[in-house]
Structures are given as C-alpha cells and as structure tokens.
Symmetry: C2
Subunit: 129 residues, 2 copies
Amino acid sequence: MVRLTRQRKAILEVLRRAHEHLTAEEVYAAARGMEPRISLGTVYRNLDILVEEGLIQKITTGSGPMRFDGNPEKHAHLRCQRCGTLEDLPMKKAFDPREYVDSSLGHVVRGAVLEFHGLCRRCAAEPDA
Amino acid sequence: MVRLTRQRKAILEVLRRAHEHLTAEEVYAAARGMEPRISLGTVYRNLDILVEEGLIQKITTGSGPMRFDGNPEKHAHLRCQRCGTLEDLPMKKAFDPREYVDSSLGHVVRGAVLEFHGLCRRCAAEPDA
DNA sequence: CTTCTTTTGAGAACTGTTCCTAGAAAGTTT
DNA sequence: AAACTTTCTAGGAACAGTTCTCAAAAGAAG
C-alpha cells in the first residue's frame, strides 16, 4: 500500500467528488483548487499510481484523452455522443464474455471492455438533439 | 460517393489484405510499397475519408494509437494483452445493448462498443504466456 | 488548352502523455 | 534534534500520435 501524499489525496478527492469521469487536465484544474502548486506531471504520475493501487480506474476507450473514474468497482459507462462526457450507467445484468465468444479457436478470451454510446441526461433533455 | 484516387486505393488495399488491424503508421509503411511518394498526412486524411464513406472502420479503444479495419461490417475484436495486436473474433450471438441497460432514466442508449481482451492465437500457443 | 476543383506531399503545429532532474518533504537512525 | 536515506514533487523538456497549412500537382469540365 502506497503512501497518500497531500497531492494524491487531492487527486483522489477530486475524482471521488466528480459526477462524471475527468481527463487528467480536468483533474489538474480541479486539484489546483486545494493544492495550488501541484504540477500536471504530478497529476499524471499519481493517477497511474492510484490505478495500480486499485483505488481508481483508467478509461481509455474513445478517441480523446483518457479519463479517470474515482470508483474502482466494475461498472458500465455511457459516453455522450453530443457533449462527450462519460458517466456511470446502471446495468440490469452482468456481462459475461463467454456468452458471446468461444475460447476454442486457439485464442484465449479473458475479459471485455464494454462502453455504451448515446446521450447523457442533460443532452437528451435538450430540444435540438 | 468519393473518388478513389491512387493513394486511396492503395490504403484500402493495404487494409483489406491485412489480417490484423493496422495503425496509421503501419498503413503508411505498407502503402509506400505501392505508392512510394505517399505522405503520412495523406494516409491520415484518407483514412478518415474512407471511414466517413463507410468503407473501413476506425477502432479507438485501448490506450495506444488508433487502428483501422478494412472490413466495414460490424464484428467483434480481440486485443492481445501480450503482443498488442487487434484481430477479428467470431461471435456466437449478436450483442444487444437493451439486454443490459434501460434508456429510462433520462439518457438515451443508442449502441455500444465491445472489445474482448485476452491472448491471440500466436501468443496463446507460446509457452511463456 | 484554359479554367476550375480536388487532392497531394512536406512539414509545421498541436495535443496529450511521459520522462528527467534538482530540490523538497517525509521517514529513520542516532 | 541533527544527520542521513528514501520517496516524492515542480517545472519543464522531450516524445508520440494526429491534425493543420499551403503551394504545387493531378484531374475534371468546358
């Protein structure tokens, strides 16, 4: 278990308070509120460390920058095709890769990444969608 | 329907012949075999055009560079956790987002991106996996 | 052949991320 | 508490992947 420095605490706080999943740049901006001298490099470095420690999740789907999720539990995400935000999405049932593919043709399937696409609440409510 | 220039034909050829899904850089390297003066910018520009035309697919999951698939039909992919290649994977049944999430809490789910992770044939066959 | 439009090649610019290093902070030992 | 060791940080340089710019080349139309 790694030590929680002031900077790491700030980053973790930011991610846990966020209701959407933030980019490193966004984490940096928010973290500067509590830790004004923190640097972007520190943010990147510690985001990776927190991922390794299993305290947060890194989400690399989609073409833009990566995003970070303060909730380390497995759960589904919805990416808004209109505003680009990434949010949590409650799932009715768990996804099991074995339902869809066989590990029989020589390859091995260990897991899957699943991301839903559509409109977030805010964008779905707007008229010009 | 867009015009198929020599460069576009070469790019399409490269992607259709490939048995794994290539990065722009890899497409560039291969395309130079048939079109030696082609530039990397042209490759990027035309990959995007071919995606818009629905002739190829762009795959942006994963943290590395994007990859391109010469087969425009919907199908599943396996990313090898060992060597990083991205290959096609036959699926036993189609994935239907509605089975997993409701579009009822205000947001709209239109589709999903699904990518399997594991070991490709080659890596699964090696002893030190 | 002239004109108009589209595309290209070459490289500069940009974005997001990682790397490097001297110094600061925290942890240990005495 | 001082001296020492280890870990971490700020700041910026370096890097990778992608997009942009623009003069020139290629192609279509008259």
